[in-house]
């Protein structure tokens, strides 16, 4: 498999004709750019492990409430339309692909392709949120399908449905918050990439944001069947 040489000396620090990524030099407390990159990556993975644990709290609540009130979870799940959930899954999968592809393009110094991929990633994130708000949160909230004490849906059939809506809003809500955070980070990448900050020898931030974005996708891969399909 192809690899790239990240061991390039930093060129003229103030030479404007040299792209930013070529002028970048790793921190003086690192032996090599590789050391810096690997340390950053371990840091990101540690952060991602806390993210997995955060989401696992919701998966834990889902599992246990499902064991206790299977009929309420089944009734609640039947209110959701798998077509919106499925469409959002496809949207997120595509954005994950374009994110991975953007990193690959930067590694090969194909800057305009990297930009296109990053922009598609951001647009997919926006589309995901738009679908979620317009077709799912909005109508459901208006009908009174709300979590816990806010619940006000008169046509419910199971006593514990408010708990289902609690699980639904908290898990998809925290996930959507991560999508918003991801959009901000990807926007930052688009801006910095346009300035020429990333190239074959330096793309640490892109790698980190990419990993974060894949985790957001990963969580949705599990949320989709649990909320929309399993009945």
């Amino acid at each position: 498999m192809a690899t790239i040489d990240t061991h390039q000396p930093a060129l003229g620090k103030d030479d404007k004709s040299v792209p930013l990524w070529k002028r970048y030099h790793h921190g003086h407390h690192w032996r090599t750019a590789d050391d810096e990159f690997d340390a950053a990556k371990i840091g990101i993975w540690l952060f991602l492990s806390t993210e997995i644990l955060l989401f696992s709290g919701m998966f834990c609540a889902y599992t246990l409430f499902r064991l206790m009130y299977p009929e309420a979870i089944a009734a609640g799940s039947s209110y959701l339309d798998w077509r919106w959930g499925g469409l959002n899954t496809v949207v997120l999968l595509i954005s994950s692909f374009t994110m991975a592809n953007a990193i690959r393009c930067v590694q090969l110094d194909k800057q305009s392709w990297a930009r296109i991929n990053l922009i598609i990633t951001w647009l997919c994130a926006a589309l995901f949120l738009a679908i979620k708000l317009t077709f799912e949160y909005g109508p459901k909230w208006a009908q009174g399908k709300r979590p816990g004490v806010l619940f006000n849906y008169p046509f419910a059939s199971e006593t514990h449905e408010p708990i289902w809506w609690g699980i639904y809003y908290v898990s998809t809500g925290i996930h959507a918050t991560h999508v918003i955070g991801g959009m901000a980070l990807i926007a930052l990448l688009i801006y910095r990439q346009a300035k020429g900050s990333y190239g074959p020898s330096h793309y640490t931030l892109m790698e980190g944001v990419g990993l974060y974005w894949h985790i957001v996708d990963l969580v949705w891969i599990f949320l989709f069947p649990l909320l929309y399909l399993v009945h």
């Binding site: 498999m1 192809a2 690899t3 790239i4 040489d5 990240t6 032996r31 590789d34 690997d38 990556k41 993975w45 492990s49 997995i52 644990l53 696992s56 998966f59 834990c60 599992t63 246990l64 499902r66 206790m68 009130y69 299977p70 009929e71 009734a75 039947s78 209110y79 499925g86 496809v90 999968l93 994950s96 994110m99 991975a100 592809n101 090969l108 009174g144 816990g148 004490v149 619940f151 006000n152 008169p154 419910a156 059939s157 199971e158 006593t159 514990h160 449905e161 708990i163 990993l211 894949h214 985790i215 996708d217 990963l218 891969i221 599990f222 989709f224 069947p225 399909l229 399993v230 009945h231």
Partner: protein
């Protein structure tokens, strides 16, 4: 660390280097070919279609051929497919396949922690009542309206919502709307032989506190659903009795 040992290390010890060792050479970063990335995306999309299909298939099989596929098959298949998809994302998009072993260990340990988290919470919930009975029911409030501080809440929230609607719009309007609403999500809210809405669940009878016990009596009594509701209730009662016996035996009381 002695010098003799240090010389056996792959990187020579260097007293002038503040880190002690020279980095000899460096590994490159892997560039994953776009063909692999695209292949993984296509596989993920295919698995998405497959998981949606298998969820629909259960209903179809019951309706068309009268096959009764147990509910757990659906859960196991859906989660199995999700695990395959997750592994693909982690290995190729997140490049763990080409990455350092330390990151892999980090992820696996995290998943182990998730397993511990869910298992121990489940064990705790399942056994609370075995020591002191009153602890068993603690978690059941919430949806039932017990302990909910909202004006006018004197019972389960779903009944409160229903009563408020009838007060504002009248009984006839409610019946009319009820059918319209249920039609929008499959036209069926109560378990039938054709649906996988298992009344037993995996741990039946866990935390039945007896609060709002007779809730179903007046609530299920509406329109067409009435007969189904009665059946479902009977099934529920017999099922929970059976399982109560099982639990009793298993518990060794």
């Amino acid at each position: 660390m002695s010098h003799a040992q240090a010389h056996n290390q792959p990187h020579a010890y260097d007293p002038s280097d503040p880190h002690g060792f020279h980095e000899e050479g460096h590994h490159g970063h892997v560039i994953v070919p776009w063909q692999i990335l695209l292949g993984v995306l296509l596989a993920l999309l295919a698995f998405t279609v497959l998981t949606v299909f298998q969820a629909q298939f259960e209903k179809y099989a019951a309706h068309e051929w009268g096959w009764q596929i147990p509910g757990w098959v659906n859960v196991v298949l859906a989660m199995g497919i999700a695990c395959i998809k997750g592994t693909l994302v982690v290995m190729y998009f997140m490049q763990l396949r080409y990455d350092k072993g330390l990151n892999v260990i980090l992820l696996l340990f995290t998943l182990f922690a998730v397993w511990l988290f869910i298992m121990f919470t489940a064990i705790d919930l399942n056994n609370r009542g075995h020591i002191t009975d009153w602890r068993a029911g603690e978690i059941t409030s919430g949806g039932t309206g017990v302990g909910v501080r909202r004006e006018g809440v004197t019972g389960p929230l779903i009944i409160v919502a229903k009563d408020e609607y009838i007060k504002d719009h009248g009984e006839a309007e409610y019946e009319h709307e009820l059918h319209a609403h249920h039609a929008t999500h499959g036209g069926q809210t109560i378990s039938t032989a054709q649906a996988s809405r298992s009344r037993e669940g995996l741990t039946p009878g866990l935390f039945s506190t007896g609060v709002w016990e007779h809730l179903g009596d007046d609530h299920d009594a509406h329109g067409d659903a009435h007969t189904d509701g009665a059946h479902a209730e009977e099934a529920d009662h017999s099922a929970s009795e059976e399982h109560a016996d099982e639990n009793h035996d298993a518990g060794g009381h």
